[in-house]
């Protein structure tokens, strides 16, 4: 399978500040990729590089085998729902659909109209009068109806209330199943991604901390609880991501491919949220020296 997104040493700086640095990724096709990280971690920068809104300062990025925004054909292959789901305030929903139809050769008008009808949006309503959730749905409709191979969404649910958020994501998943899209979706909330993603990228402080298949990630990370001991005494194949100690007890979060047989530990499974938070915390603790880049394929 070809990669939908392949980056090598990718970086973007604004003056002396690096919004994204040394990003190396290889995301396979057919996945729903969750890009997660705290605010300001560089998620938007990475996605904007992927759609060609930004040009990289260093390194390379390839999307579906082509340079982002290289031409009409490349633009047609990638759908993008930008942050805050912008829409022309003065144009009606109908106008937006006509915009999509005029500007995209692969546009499926029937699909777009059915979606809008199903969502209960008024075709004559101006986009400026739509609620945040409705506008997000309109933007998603534009993104889906151009029939891209890859749909990229930048914090599409950030401004939505929990109910609208759930509906939007459900709707997205239906579209994904129906049209066999690859999706890259960013959020600063793990709970948003948990329901929909099968591939995870954790981005903290402008660096990729973790990237990999979600099931594999969950299967290879464990919480170990036992009597207090020095993490340095662990076997070499167990990498400590996070450690916390009380007077008598030690809790470790380790990554290992091998099963854990040491009877001194109580081995617990991790949820996605624990996993992401552990990597975010590890990155914060390691800020002084170069954080280890953990990429698992």
């Amino acid at each position: 399978m070809t990669a939908v997104l392949r980056a090598h040493g990718l970086g973007k700086s604004y003056g002396r500040r690096w919004a994204l640095s040394d990003c190396t990724l290889d995301v396979p096709a057919g996945r729903v990729v969750g890009l997660v990280g705290p605010n300001g971690a560089g998620k938007t920068t990475l996605l904007n590089l992927a759609v060609g809104m930004l040009a990289p300062t260093s390194g390379t990025i390839e999307v579906l085998g082509g340079r982002p925004a290289a031409g009409p054909a490349q633009l047609a292959k990638v759908g993008f729902v930008a942050q805050d789901t912008p829409a022309y305030g003065g144009l009606s929903v109908e106008d937006h659909l006509r915009l999509g139809a005029r500007l995209n050769p692969g546009w499926v008008d029937d699909l777009a109209r059915r979606r809008i009808e199903r969502l209960g949006l008024d075709f004559t309503q101006r986009a400026g009068k739509l609620s945040g959730g409705q506008r997000a749905q309109l933007a998603l409709t534009l993104g889906v109806a151009k029939r891209p191979e890859l749909l990229i969404l930048d914090e599409p649910v950030a401004s939505l209330d929990p109910l609208a958020r759930r509906e939007f994501l459900q709707d997205l998943m239906e579209a994904v199943a129906e049209h066999e899209l690859s999706v890259v979706l960013s959020s600063h909330l793990v709970s948003d991604l948990e329901r929909v993603c099968d591939y995870l990228i954790v981005l903290v402080a402008s660096r990729v901390q973790l990237a990999g298949d979600l099931d594999t990630l969950l299967a290879t990370h464990h919480r170990l609880t036992g009597a207090r001991r020095d993490p340095a005494t662990l076997p070499a194949d167990q990498h400590v991501i996070a450690a916390s100690h009380t007077d008598r007890q030690t809790t470790l979060l380790v990554r290992t491919e091998a099963p854990i047989h040491d009877p001194a530990w109580t081995v617990g499974q991790l949820g996605l949220e624990d996993l992401v938070l552990a990597y975010m915390g590890a990155s914060a603790a390691n800020r002084d020296h170069r954080p280890a880049l953990e990429v698992i394929r």
Partner: protein, 355 residues
């Protein structure tokens, strides 16, 4: 893309079309009457002994206000186009974030910009051209009578006639787009566009236009048409004569860049000193009764003869009225070239730098 450009532009286009239609209607209703008044007046005065100067002056004074008003419309129109069509064109998209929507449809941003710039720019030039054409037609009788006060080569009238308004509109529009793209916010972009456009419009006639073609220099005899004032200071000081730019004959409608009196050795003088006992002295016992049939100023001809005898002449640097169309083409070309350069910069920037 043409559809989208039109959809976004149609409200502004309709407003401009309505404004131009109102202007055109007013001009169309009053224009023929104006032209009739002028031709009958000229025909009548041509047979009279006093000549047409009275009629010309009266005609101009009667119509000065609407003349200035329509001229102002043509002067202001390009600035309005730059402000309200140019500045928001890209800035509004960047401000609202909608560029992130439209640049991710299956159309390159170069093409997007090309269509927007091309269509709106052509509309801007058309609007300015139509406005200028209508005003040209309407005010042509007044323009003929305005040569004394507003020669057509001089900055005010030159800027509001012919084809230069088209060049101004193209430039103002491209300037607005460029500033909007750099500033990324509509209101500051409009303010900056206005300031820069006004500065350019002032700099052009001051610094560039006089030198488009080397001005004509000539040294001429002093006549009635260039005499501003003769004064007799109290005491025994000589009588003094001050000159003004000539506005008759070859100088009708011309743009006089400088004019000064020069003495016999060719040095410029501020005023001409004349003997109290010479021909320029006022007639004894108050102004003499003029003989019937004499033109006003005839009694001064011995005075001009004396100035000539003393070697005083007038040195004039000017752009003659016959260069009107050459200058119109040059200036339109310059402004169009500036507009194209700005558009080129926009294309470069939208590809390389903008996000």
């Amino acid at each position: 893309m043409i559809w989208l450009t039109w959809r976004q532009f149609r409200a502004q286009a309709a407003m401009m079309a309505a404004a131009l239609a109102v202007l055109a209607a007013i001009l169309a209703l009053t224009g023929p009457g104006l032209a009739d008044d002028y031709s009958t007046g000229i025909a009548a005065c041509a047979t009279q002994s006093g000549g047409c100067s009275d009629f010309v002056q009266r005609f101009f004074q009667d119509h000065q206000d609407p003349f200035l008003a329509v001229t102002a419309v043509v002067l202001v129109l390009p600035a309005l186009i730059g402000l309200f069509w140019g500045s928001p064109l890209i800035a509004r998209e960047l401000e609202a974030g909608t560029h992130r929507l439209v640049w991710n449809q299956s159309i390159t941003r170069t093409r997007w910009l090309a269509v927007k710039l091309g269509l709106t720019g052509l509309a801007a030039m058309t609007a300015a051209g139509l406005g200028s054409l209508a005003v040209d037609w309407w005010s042509s009788p007044i323009d003929k009578t305005a040569a004394d006060n507003f020669p057509r080569m001089e900055p005010l009238l030159f800027d509001a006639r012919g084809i230069v308004p088209i060049g101004y509109a193209a430039f103002a529009f491209a300037l607005g787009v460029t500033v909007g793209m750099l500033v990324r916010r509509t209101l500051p972009a409009m303010a900056i566009t206005l300031a820069v456009f006004v500065a350019v419009q002032i700099a052009m006639p001051l610094l560039v236009r006089p030198h488009l073609i080397a001005p004509t220099r000539s040294t001429i005899e002093i006549t009635e048409s260039s005499l501003a004032n003769i004064g007799m200071p109290p005491g025994n000081a000589p009588i003094r004569a001050w000159l003004k730019a000539p506005d008759q004959g070859a100088y009708t409608g011309a743009w006089v860049l400088s004019s000064q009196a020069v003495d016999a050795s060719g040095h410029a003088v501020a005023s001409i000193p004349l003997s109290r006992s010479g021909a320029c002295a006022p007639p004894q016992g108050g102004p003499a009764q003029q003989p019937a049939g004499a033109k006003p100023g005839d009694e001064l001809s011995p005075c001009f003869a004396e100035m000539k005898r003393l070697g005083y002449r007038q040195r004039v640097t000017y752009q003659p009225s016959s260069r009107f169309w050459a200058f119109q083409w040059y200036e339109t070309g310059i402004y169009t070239a500036l507009a194209l350069a700005l558009a080129g910069f926009c294309f470069w920037r939208i590809r390389r730098r903008l996000s």
